[in-house]
C-alpha cells in the first residue's frame, strides 16, 4: 500500500512539474510584463498557486466521484482483459481515507510543488524579453 502511495505521489509531482514548466514557458512574457508594471514575484506566485489549486481541486473532485462510481467497473474490465482470471473486483475503502485524506494529500502535494516551481519567477525579467 505504501508502494502505491509513493507511486501516486511521484506521478502527481511529475505531472504538476511538467504542466508548470510548459505553462510558465508559454507565459514567460506575461510574467515579465506583470513584474515590470509593479506586480511582485510573491503576487505572481500566489496567482499561479490559486490557478493551479483550483484546477487540481476540480480534478480531485471529479476523480473521486468517477473512482467511486466507475472505478470498480474499469478495474474489473482491465483485469478481465489482462486474463488473470479475475472477472470482478470490489473495493473495500476507508471512507475517511478515500474521500478526504487522499484528495487533500494530492491537493497539498500539487500546491507545494507549484510553490516550489514558481521560485524561479524572480529571475524572469522584462529586460531579457526586450533583448529577445
Amino acid at each position: 500500500m505504501y508502494a502505491v502511495a509513493v507511486m501516486v505521489v511521484c506521478l502527481v509531482v511529475l505531472i504538476t512539474v511538467l504542466f508548470l514548466k510548459l505553462q510558465t514557458a508559454k507565459e514567460y512574457s506575461q510574467i515579465a510584463i506583470m513584474k515590470a508594471i509593479g506586480f511582485s514575484v510573491l503576487d505572481i506566485r500566489k496567482q499561479y498557486l490559486v490557478k493551479v489549486s483550483l484546477v487540481s481541486l476540480l480534478g480531485v473532485i471529479v476523480g473521486t466521484l468517477l473512482a467511486n462510481t466507475l472505478g470498480e467497473l474499469i478495474v474489473s474490465n482491465i483485469f478481465s482483459i489482462i486474463g488473470l482470471g479475475i472477472s470482478k473486483i470490489s473495493f473495500i475503502i476507508n471512507p475517511l481515507e478515500a474521500y478526504l485524506l487522499c484528495p487533500l494529500a494530492i491537493l497539498a502535494i500539487v500546491m507545494l510543488v507549484t510553490w516550489v516551481c514558481t521560485i524561479g519567477f524572480k529571475n524572469y525579467s522584462i529586460i531579457d524579453l526586450i533583448n529577445e
Partner: protein, 255 residues
C-alpha cells in the same frame, strides 16, 4: 525645484566570470528635477537602456546608489521595489507589451487593480478618462491583436498613468511607430509633462529628444555631456528649430 531622482556613482557590470565581465555603466551621476522632461541619447551600446532600467529599479546596480524622492531604492527587496514601481512609476517600452489575455481597457486597469487603492468603478472611470484623453476610447473592449501599433502604444501610456505616477520612464517609446504615430504619442507625453509628470525617455531619435527640456548624451557607459533646450511649448511651433539646434550641437561634438 525638488530633485525627484538622483543617481550617485552608478555602475553596472555584466558577465558571470572575471574573464567575460563588461562594465556597461561607469560611475554615472545624474539628477532629475520634478516636472522635468529629460531625454537620454547615445550610440547603440552606449548604455542608455541599461541606465534607464537600473535607475528605475527594474535591474539591480552593481554599485552606487539611486535615490528616488529622498528614498534610497538601490537596496530595496523585490517586494518593496515592486510597490515603488506600482504606485510611483510608469513605464512605456518600445513595444507596448500589453497582456494578450486581456482587452485594451483591462490592460490599462490592471496596475490600478493591483494597487488596490481605489474601487473597481473608480479605476474603470480613470481608465475611460485616460483613453478619451489619448483618443482610444472606442477600442477599449478590443483584443490587442485587433488594433494598430500607435493605438497600442497609446494604451501603454494610459496603463503607465493609471496610478498617477510621479515619473514616467520610456525606452524608445516611438521606436516601433511610423512618423505620424510617433508625433501623436510624443504630443501626449508632452501634455502629460505639462501637467507636472516627470519624464525620462531613452531615444535615438532627435525629433523626440528635441521635445525634452534637457538632453543627456551617453557614450561608452559615461555621461559625455548635456544640452539644455528649455521647456517645449507645443503651441509656439518651435519643434523644427529645436531639432536643428540639437542636431547642430550633436554634430559639433562629433556625435
Amino acid at each position: 525645484m525638488k530633485t525627484i531622482l538622483e543617481a550617485k556613482d552608478v555602475c553596472k557590470v555584466f558577465g558571470k566570470s572575471r574573464e567575460d565581465e563588461t562594465m556597461v555603466l561607469k560611475r554615472i551621476n545624474l539628477q532629475i528635477e520634478e516636472g522635468e522632461f529629460v531625454a537620454i541619447m547615445g550610440q547603440s551600446g552606449s548604455g542608455k537602456s541599461t541606465l534607464l532600467y537600473n535607475i528605475s529599479g527594474m535591474d539591480r546596480l552593481t554599485s552606487g546608489q539611486v535615490v528616488f524622492d529622498g528614498e534610497d531604492i538601490s537596496d530595496l527587496s523585490d517586494e518593496e521595489i515592486s510597490k515603488v514601481r506600482l504606485y510611483r512609476m510608469g513605464f512605456i517600452f518600445q513595444h507596448s507589451h500589453l497582456l494578450k489575455t486581456l482587452s485594451i481597457r483591462e490592460n490599462i486597469m490592471l496596475p490600478g487593480i493591483n494597487a488596490g487603492k481605489k474601487s473597481r468603478v473608480q479605476i474603470l472611470n480613470d481608465a475611460n478618462r485616460l483613453m478619451e484623453m489619448v483618443g482610444i476610447e472606442s477600442i477599449g473592449g478590443h483584443d490587442i491583436t485587433k488594433v494598430s501599433g500607435g493605438q497600442l502604444q497609446r494604451a501603454a501610456i494610459c496603463r503607465a498613468l493609471i496610478n498617477n505616477p510621479d515619473i514616467i520612464y520610456g525606452d524608445e517609446p516611438t521606436g516601433a511607430l511610423n512618423s505620424r504615430a510617433s508625433q501623436e504619442v510624443m504630443n501626449i507625453l508632452n501634455d502629460i509633462n505639462q501637467n507636472g509628470t516627470t519624464l525620462l525617455i531613452v531615444t535615438h531619435d532627435s525629433k523626440v529628444a528635441a521635445r525634452a527640456d534637457r538632453v543627456i548624451y551617453l557614450s561608452d557607459g559615461k555621461i559625455e555631456t548635456e544640452h539644455l533646450l528649455g521647456k517645449y511649448n507645443r503651441e509656439d511651433d518651435s519643434l523644427k528649430e529645436r531639432e536643428n539646434n540639437l542636431i547642430k550641437w550633436l554634430k559639433l561634438r562629433g556625435f
